[in-house]
Symmetry: C2
Subunit: 239 residues, 2 copies
């Protein structure tokens, strides 16, 4: 509790951390919105997790949150990163899903990156909503009543979902413009020198190597969802 | 020491961590090259620091290395992230500079992101070399005998320097293609769905807000280099 009226007005953008996340899913948008918080004192960013202390990512880097779920129960905005198998397993973590449901209730923005949208889906937050995720996982969204969309990011009411991994950066600049205005977002873009020049150019979706990734995705899903046969059934029924 | 000839052939790409780094400087290229290591068993990635245990970044996220400097003295490749004031202060950290010099000696690739190139410069590794850094810090490179270049990334012999923050991702895809070939790099690009769509488009360098950033950069430099008056003198002499 605080009696400082200014502090009480700070709006928290909470990034959700759980073991095994794809590091860039978290750090891309975190870097953008940490810049927003620096430029706009009305906002702050936090990284929230079930516990403090280092957690593994899908790289050798371990990362640690600065707040527990209990310390950030009602954020202004929620951002949920994804991952491969660990994100699919996290869909069965009741404490994580409970936090997402409670935090989403009063949040003005409920966002995800990559397969983070599958966690929102498992928490029941995407029913009837247009949403996206990593392109190799997009067929899973329908299992939870979401309407899959192939787009860099999708905004449906308070829910903003980004495509795979690096798409979180684009989504975060969109959110920065929405929250603080286009000029501030542009300044942040110069600060992060976000002027992408992929050495081989952009992606060609007609040439996407879906066959290379599909067997991995299918195995991750069946292993991670082994305790949820109804999800597997619904998935197979949709084929 | 190992007697397993296969293990002995694994080439380590070492990301250097120190307190206060810009998180995305590290995590952008780390994510790309961790994917490379997954796709190409001849490579591994490591995050090296003076000590293990969480270190602060310029966001609320703390990050931890998985190896000490002593555990990775001779990496195949070195990648040095940057930061604002903390990177400038790290230019005076003798243990970090000693590690960079020793590790760079036998490395095939000595890379940096953003102001990470200033650490290479302070270690004496950029003399006479073409290099880049974050656009707001580019004028500092000449203080250390480097030739500043305005480019997304610059390759000069073993030294590959990237521009600010997000440029590390582009540089890493370039390195992935150089190390494992263009088809593998392209597969990684699909895996990270790296198909950037900045909501406000690319940057316009004729419109860059240098005046907004210059006072901060100047203050950071003068504070961080207060124990190195010869650097300040050389900087002022170049104006």
């Amino acid at each position: 509790m605080t009696t400082n009226p200014q502090a009480a007005q700070v709006q928290t953008i909470a990034f959700v951390l759980y073991p095994g996340i794809t590091a860039l899913d978290l750090v891309g948008p975190l870097q953008v919105l940490a810049g927003l918080a620096q430029a706009s004192p009305g906002f702050e960013v936090a990284v929230v997790a079930e516990r403090l202390g280092p957690m593994p990512t899908d790289t050798p880097l371990a990362v640690a949150a600065d707040r527990t779920f209990e310390e950030a129960p009602h954020p202004f905005a929620l951002v949920v990163p994804g991952g491969d198998a660990p994100a699919l397993r996290a869909m069965g973590d009741p404490r994580l899903l409970d936090y997402l449901r409670g935090a989403a209730e009063g949040a003005e923005i409920v966002a995800s990156v990559c397969t983070g949208s599958l966690l929102l889906a498992a928490a029941g937050l995407l029913e009837g909503r247009r949403a996206t995720t990593h392109w190799t996982y997009r067929h899973l969204l329908g299992v939870f009543g979401a309407i899959p969309v192939a787009a860099r990011w999708v905004e449906d009411g308070p829910v903003v979902t980004a495509a795979g991994v690096s798409a979180g950066i684009d989504m975060a600049f969109h959110l920065a413009a929405r929250l603080a205005g286009a000029p501030t977002a542009r300044l942040l873009q110069y600060a992060l020198e976000y002027d992408p020049q992929p050495p081989q150019g952009g992606l060609d979706w007609d040439d996407a190597p879906g066959d290379v990734f599909a067997p991995f995705v299918d195995r991750y899903v069946r292993e991670a969802w082994s305790a949820r046969p109804e999800w597997i059934e619904r998935l197979d029924a949709r084929r």
